[in-house]
Structure formats: structure tokens, C-alpha cells
């Protein structure tokens, strides 16, 4: 297991280095920040001054060299737009994205595993059909539409929840609820399908013959074997959430990494883009590592 984690860590570091080079040069190909930062009627002299001020007039390879040297000291440079260290801007945003993603993910996993398992156990029954309908709606309904409808219903008409913002725990309810729906819809289907396979295995029949009750059969005997494909899907969904949730962040005024990244790309704020991608990549690599460990814990064949 330790060896596996070590191998994964080395691969992750190499991937990060590759990503850094790729993003640096690709972002430079997308246009001149001076054009976007300055007004449209800014003189060429103003643009030249801006480039000089931010080191954008140096040859690309020199800019890259300087960037790598700074990175070795964990210095991502300053945000062009915000005139602050880019890493500070990114970490502030990530401090909002991370809890949003983790809380939502935990709720999704618990709800999907419990409901998916129960649906599989009652296959074809009313509960199973209800779970299937809800999951299909969840997996296919657009975030944007759900978010707006939720605001109109719960904030404007009923007045139960704030429309947006981050001031109190109540502010988190709608963003988490909207972010919950799609991954729940996907994962509950995978849990159900996987549990259906596991429940038809011979060892389940043996357990039933021995008189083991339904719930222990589901949650002790079967679940562990059914979880491998589920973990894969959870990993994908977790990675997507760690990238930020642009729609949810935009609508609910949630100052997370997704919206920051999109805004920074559009504004050619290179240092923020790079810092955001690196921080997000590290988070995703850690998440993947945890998924690998979970695989190992669930399936001894992987460990060995």
C-alpha cells in the first residue's frame, strides 16, 4: 500500500510539472492581458508601460524561467487585476470551494448509498421506482434552472432562505442542495446497479439461508463488494466539485474557485489562472490518492 501511494505521488508530481509547463505556454497563446486590462482607447504607450510593469514584455522563455524560479519559492506572482499575490486570491476562493464540495459530497455519498441500496433490495417496487425517477431527474435537470427556481420559490415567494451570499449557515442550504442533485442522481443509479449484482451473488444466498436479516445483508455483507464501481464514480464527481461549481458559485454569489478561474481566464490574469490550476490539481491528486487507498481497503487484491 505504501509503495502504491509512493508511486502515485511521484506520478502526480510529474503530472503537475507537465501541467505547469502546458498551462503557462497555452495561456500565453490566448492574447495580451494589456488589451483586456486597459480600456479600449488606451494608447500604445500605456499598453507598453503595462507590459513592462508586469514583465510581459520579456521573451516568453525568460518569463517562463522567472516563473519557475519564483514557483520554487512558492511565489505565484501577483494577480494583474487585483494587485495582490495570486496564491492569496486563489486560497481565499478555495477556502469556500473546499467545504462546499466536501459537505455536498458527504451528503451525496450517504444519501446515494442508503437509497440506492434500499432500492436495489426492493427492485421493481414502489420505492425503487421512486428512486429511479428522482435520480433520472437529478442527473438530467440543468443546475442553472434548478438554482433560479429554488431562489424564486424558497427565497422570494416563501422567504425561508436567503437568495444568495455566504453570511450564515442558512446561506449554504440552497447552494448545497443544488450542487447535490446531479451527483446524487448519477451515484444512486450506480449504487443500485452494483448492489443488484452483489445481491445475486452466492454468498448472499448463503447468508439468507443462515437466517441473516435484510439490513445486515445489505450493509455488512454486500455493500463492500458493491462499492468498487461506486468509488470510481464518486472520485469523478469529487474531482469535478473540487474544480469549483461555476454555475452554483455564479448564481449564489459564492466566492469559489470555479468562478475565479473562469473570470481569470477571460481577463488573462495568468498568475491567478496558473495558481488556481495548480491548487486544484493538487486537490484532485490528493483525492485520487484517497480513492486508490479506498480501493486497497475494499479489495485486498489491489493491496497485494
Amino acid at each position: 500500500m505504501i509503495k502504491l501511494i509512493g508511486q502515485r505521488a511521484i506520478a502526480s508530481v510529474l503530472s503537475l510539472l507537465g501541467l505547469m509547463v502546458l498551462v503557462f505556454f497555452l495561456s500565453r497563446l490566448t492574447g495580451d492581458p494589456a488589451v483586456l486590462f486597459l480600456p479600449i482607447d488606451a494608447s500604445e504607450a500605456m499598453k507598453a508601460q503595462f507590459r513592462a510593469l508586469h514583465g510581459l514584455d520579456a521573451p516568453l522563455i525568460e518569463q517562463f524561467g522567472r516563473y519557475v524560479l519564483d514557483l520554487l519559492q512558492f511565489d505565484f506572482g501577483d494577480s494583474l487585476r487585483k494587485a495582490r499575490p495570486a496564491i492569496d486570491v486563489v486560497m481565499e476562493a478555495y477556502a469556500w470551494t473546499l467545504p462546499l464540495a466536501l459537505i455536498t459530497l458527504c451528503l451525496v455519498v450517504v444519501a446515494a448509498v442508503v437509497l440506492g441500496s434500499l432500492a436495489a433490495f426492493n427492485v421493481g417496487g414502489f420505492f425503487d421506482r421512486m428512486v429511479s425517477i428522482v435520480s433520472l431527474i437529478g442527473a438530467s435537470a440543468p443546475d442553472f434552472w434548478i438554482a433560479i427556481v429554488a431562489i424564486v420559490l424558497f427565497s422570494i415567494n416563501l422567504g425561508w432562505l436567503p437568495t444568495s451570499g455566504v453570511g450564515t449557515p442558512l446561506h449554504w442550504v440552497l447552494p448545497i442542495a443544488v450542487l447535490f442533485i446531479r451527483p446524487f442522481g448519477l451515484i444512486v443509479q450506480v449504487v443500485r446497479g452494483s448492489m443488484l449484482s452483489a445481491l445475486s451473488a452466492p454468498y448472499v444466498k448463503t447468508a439468507r439461508a443462515k437466517g441473516v436479516k435484510n439490513l445486515p445483508i445489505i450493509f455488512i455483507h454486500t455493500l463492500r463488494n458493491a462499492m468498487l464501481p461506486v468509488i470510481t464514480v464518486i472520485g469523478d464527481q469529487a474531482a469535478a466539485m473540487l474544480n469549483g461549481a461555476v454555475i452554483v458559485e455564479t448564481i449564489f454569489g459564492f466566492p469559489g474557485i470555479g468562478k475565479l478561474m473562469i473570470d481569470s481566464i477571460l481577463q488573462r490574469d495568468f498568475n491567478v489562472v496558473l495558481a488556481a490550476i495548480m491548487v486544484t490539481a493538487v486537490a484532485i491528486f490528493i483525492m485520487n490518492m484517497l480513492i486508490d487507498v479506498a480501493y486497497g481497503l475494499l479489495d485486498p487484491r489491489i493491496r497485494h
Binding site: 490566448t30 492574447g31 495580451d32 488589451v35 483586456l36 486590462f37 486597459l38 480600456p39 479600449i40 482607447d41 488606451a42 494608447s43 504607450a45 500605456m46 508601460q49 503595462f50 513592462a52 510593469l53 494577480s79 487585476r81 487585483k82 494587485a83 495582490r84 486570491v89 481565499e92 476562493a93 469556500w96 433560479i148 431562489i151 424564486v152 427565497s155 422570494i156 422567504g159 436567503p162 437568495t163 444568495s164 451570499g165 455566504v166 455564479t250 448564481i251 449564489f252 454569489g253 466566492p255 468562478k259 475565479l260 477571460l266 488573462r268
Partner: protein, 481 residues
Amino acid sequence: MAQDNTAITVVLSEELDLVEPCMATRSNIGRVILQNISETLTELDVRGDKGLMPRLADSWEDKGDGTWQFKLHPGVTFSDGTTLDAADVKHSFDRVFSDQLTCESARYFADTALSFNIVDDTTIDITAVPAQPILPLLMSLVTIVPSETPMEFVRDPIGTGPYVMTEWTAGQQIVLDRREDYWGAQPEVSKATYLFRSEPAVRAGMVAAGEADIAPQITAEVADNTATDFSYLNSETVYLRVDGQDAPTSDIRIRQALNAAIDREAFIGTVLPTGTELAVAMVPPTTLGWNPDVAVPAYDPELAKKLIAEAQADGVDTSLPIEVVARTENFPNVTEVAEALVQMFNEVGFTATLRMVEVAEHEQYYSKPYPESEGTRLVLAQHDNSRGDPAFSMFFKYDSEGTQSGVNDPKVDDLIARASAATGDERAALWSELFAYVHDEIVADVLLFHMVGLSRVSERLDFTPTIATNQQLQLSEIGFK
């Protein structure tokens, strides 16, 4: 939650990257800073017809040879307790022109060198080379900061305005509190909290739910309450920049045909909000020299076809492709507007296509040097001028040397030069002549619409948006019912 007293909440469409006084001409920053935290020497009256009004300067006088003398209001203090003097004014301009930071206000003085002579604590002479007849107006664009302000972007702006920033939580909110020691009249609003939401439906919903008091920018789709929703001319003009050097648009008949092919009225109340006005100039009707005699080109597809046929008969290759380039999210329903324009051009016989691009790519087509094209490109663009004078528009858009100009006409260049150097009635007359000339005589471009903005204002407030609402939101103009 919005308060039930004299504190208000304003929900803006975009967050502020900076709260830097020398960037106050950038609209998202200006809406918070301009005249609230930081003030200018002069101020343009956008609510009435007073023209240029005193702010930090009580008076100004043309001393000749490009020199203007400004008398500062005595006894004005900054929020740090220091007293405003002429040295602060000089330092504010030193910052604007410093090469250690990129201040937006500098662009208004692109080809003008300013020098300063401090006469005494409350008197300063400012000399412009070349002479600048609208120097007092330009003073309405530069915010004044104390001499101690460093030559870098600040995060805690010190100003002479009626409010001081007491909180800035990046990404979440900015709070301004009223200064009890403000030199001028005390405004009614005691505190303003600014929140940021990108989605117009959410901004409108926040006012409806009582979470905010003003949403300066909402869209027509969500403006459904006549008691709270106001439309106002927002100083933006939408037009198609035509390159007069390219075939086939180098022929005036083709440019006339483009204008005649468009049913401008059809856009209003459908894809553009009711209240949108048809444009006959690059600047809104509130601008000096705006010419009421210039008429909107009539929608006449038959005339357009006839003009194309005439040009074709004279050897103009009218089959050359015309690519309309438009910017995504430039204004609400920009894609639908651009698609309709292309459709109208094709209906009269042009070979037009549409390319939607994002802001950086749009800039490549909009500003010189223009990329090569097989036929020509028409750039759909939006230009903002709420400053009251055409000088902020006409050189850039119409002069042979103008960065976004598609015109190369000696008479236009001459009129721009003379109008820019003139004062008073002569200045207004020259601008007026220029507006008529570029629209009627050379048909320089396809002017389309003066756009409206839509604001939602809580019923507890006494506030009407103006043409300046795009750039500023003076809290002192807000009262309570």
C-alpha cells in the same frame, strides 16, 4: 438583509478587483468610489442642465496659453484627517501618470502633457500642451488623493468624499460608512453595503426579497415590476464599425445599402428593451453638439437592393463576403441582435455571415491594425460616452489615426481637430457639423441604438437612475421616502 433605516444595500453585477481611486473611471470601481470615497475637482451635472459644476474646486479660470487656474474649496479634509491642498492635487496627477502603476484616468490625457504650478495652498495652475479647452471637464475624471498616497495600488483608499470604506471582504462585500466630518452637505444614507451577484435574476430577486435596496443593472427579462424597475439611457451606443478601405464597403452606396437594409425599429421591445433609442451619432443626445437634424436611415430593403445593383453595375464586387464580428455578452441579447442584422443584410443580397467571439478576440478586430479579410468585416461594438463631450469618442472612432476608425477622410480629420481645439458655441457647432457629415455625407458606419439600462430600486428609496449610473452611483443622491 437590507436595513429599515438609513443603511442601504446595493447589489452590483461584478466584484471590484481594486478599490483604487485612480481607477475610478472603470465603471465597476467608479460605482463604489466615485464621489462617494474620492472626489474630483469638477463634476458634470447629469441630472439637470448645469453643465460642469464645482466639486473640490470652487472655481476655475482660463489664463490663456493652455493654462487653467483652479481654486480649491478651503477647509476640505480627507478621511485620515489631513487637509486638502494644491500639493494633493499635483500628487494625484503624478500618480495617474506614474510608470509604477497603470492608472486608467491617464488615457484621457494620452497626447497631452500637463504641468502644475502650486500658487498657494488652495490655488493651482495646470498647463496643458497642447492647450486643452476641456481641461476643466477632464478634471471630472481624476480623483484626488492625499500627498502621502504611495505610487502603487492602494487597498484602503483615503478620500475627501462623504463616505469612508470600513470593510472590504474580497469576493463578498464592501461597506462604506458616512463621514460625520465631511466638508459638504451630509447625505441621508448613513451606510452602504455593496454585494456582488453576476446573475441579473438574482440581483432583481434580492431587491424583491428585501435583501438589497438597489440593483443598478438588471435585464429586461426580469424587470417586471413597474413600481421598482426604471429604465434610463445608459450612455452606450451600439453600432457596426465599417472599414471604408475594404471592398465592397469602400463604395458609399454599399454603406448606404447596409443602413437601408436594417429595420431598426423591429429590435426595440423584442430583443432590446423598450426605451432603447435609435442612434444618429456615436454619442447620446445629452452630449455637446448632438445634432437633432440628423435623421435615422429609413428601413428600405428595395432601396438597398437598388444601391447594391448600381454599385455592381459600376464594377464593385458586391458578392465579396461580409463578416459581422460580435462579442459574446457585450450586451443582453447581443447574439440575437447580430443574427438578425446578418439576416437583414442577406435578404437584400449581401453575402453576410456572423462570427461571435469573446472579448480578447473582438479587440483584435476592433482596434488597429485590422486583420486581413477576404471581403470586409463589420464589427458590432458598443461605445460608452457619458462625459458630455464628443472629444472622448470622435477621434478614436472617426479620425484617420483613430484606433477604432474605419474612416480616412481629410475633412473629418480637420473637423475633429478644430472642434477639439474650440470652446463654447463654436465647439458645439463644429461637433454638430461633424455628426451630420459622418452620418449623411460619408455614411461612415451603421449607427444603431442608444441603449438603456434597467435598475431595480426598493420602494423605500427616493432615487432615479441617470445616464451616469453606468459609471457611478452617488450615495448622496439617494433619499428615503
